[in-house]
Amino acid sequence: MAGTFRFELVSPERVLMTIDADQVVVPGSDGDFTVLAGHVPVISTLRPGVLDVAAAGIRKRLFVKSGFADVDPSRLTVLAEKAYDVDELSAATIAQELKTAEAELAAAKDDEAKRMADTLVTELRQLSPRAA
């Protein structure tokens, strides 16, 4: 076990979370990857999805809506435009996000935007029954 590393979740408005984490699963746009301490430096963009943070007996699941992750051996910084704690996410919020996401999907012009919006919709749909 390589020990812990510093995990930071930053939104444009403020720093949402700082914690010494054991392991974080990051939803990268090329696929999910798990970050442990001593990870190779990576910068990756994110797809909409759930960040799974494990730290000293705590498990937190955070839903992020696009952004990017900056990984180096002792640190993981996730810059996300929007992030919600999955446990605190209410059905109403999900429904609202889902609505905007569906509108985005309908309005998406190029394939890339369409794919992003589509992932978002799928991810949100997966979340909604749990919160309800």
Partner: protein
């Protein structure tokens, strides 16, 4: 000569004004603190983004193939000035200072034969610039009734800017806002948005031997960051502006309160003098009347 009753009314009205300005000053002080907190809280995001962007942009050697957001589209003809001001007045020279800077730049560009387009963010700026540059205002965004500025507001502005850029409606975009130096000092600032200004120092501090891997690819990450960077910079401008606005308003209202106090003192002295003069006059009348008997 104003009658005593008029003067009493006058003093009462100045006193009421002082109460209002005093209250506004205190409200501005409270809001300033919140605006400052918001600006500080937003800093880590902007700094991280600038650091990563800086290290990536410094690697771009192929100028021709790079994103137009970074190196420009090769032209310098149409300039877009995004002028950010407040929604409300009563803040001293805050709005006119920003407008002045934007106006002088606009006039300089027009004199140089360039086309100037203005995007007015905030009601006051549009009103100020409408007089002489009304024809150049192509877009207006108001945040009237917005209590707390969020990133979504900045994104709204940014997406419109990007839309216009992709449609080729302008070549260079510059952001005008007031930088918050301290409570009493706000500095109107111009920041070039497109092509992006990337400072070299941040790039160096980041490249301390660490070799990053990029997913999906360097170009894609850079492209993603550049468009996000626009929203981030606009968001920063909005926050700085709101902090500056409350700072300016606080100072202006403090001055107004003090002026009202001075005025009340002067008026009270004048009122008392006249009251005494009237009493003296009446006494003289009574005494001389009694002597005549």
């Amino acid at each position: 000569m104003a009658s005593l009753k008029d003067m009493r009314n006058r003093i009462a009205s100045v006193k009421a004004t002082r109460k209002i300005t005093k209250a506004m000053q205190m409200v501005a002080a409270a809001k300033l603190r919140r605006a400052q907190e918001a600006a500080t809280a937003a800093r880590p995001y902007a700094e991280r983004m600038a650091a990563v962007l800086g290290s990536l942009a410094s690697k771009v050697t192929d100028k021709a193939g790079a994103s137009p957001l970074l190196v420009g589209n090769g032209k310098d003809q149409v300039h877009l000035l995004i002028v950010m001001t407040s929604e409300r007045g009563l803040c001293g020279g805050f709005n006119s200072n920003i407008a002045k800077l934007a106006r002088s730049d606009a006039n300089r560009l027009i004199a140089a034969g360039k086309t100037v387009k203005i995007m007015a963010v905030g009601r006051k700026g549009a009103e100020n610039l409408r007089r002489d540059l009304g024809r150049n205002i192509v877009e207006r965004k108001d945040f009237q009734g917005v209590r707390q500025l969020t990133f979504a507001h900045a994104e709204g502005v940014a997406s419109r800017v990007l839309e216009m850029f992709e449609a080729g409606e302008f070549d260079v975009a510059t952001l005008y806002f007031s930088e918050f130096k301290s409570v009493i000092a706000q500095k109107p600032t111009a920041l070039q948005l497109i092509p992006a200004t990337v400072s070299g120092t941040q790039a160096e501090s980041k490249s301390d031997g660490a070799l990053y891997e990029y997913e999906p690819s360097e170009e894609e990450v850079l492209g993603f960051l550049l468009s996000r960077n626009i929203s981030t910079q606009i968001f920063r401008g909005l926050l700085e502006n709101s902090a500056s606005f409350y700072g300016a308003q606080m100072t202006a209202m403090d001055n107004a309160t003090r002026n009202a106090g001075d005025m009340i003192n002067k008026l009270t002295i004048k009122y008392n003098r006249q009251r005494q003069a009237n009493i003296t006059k009446e006494l003289i009348e009574i005494i001389s009347g009694a002597e005549a008997l």
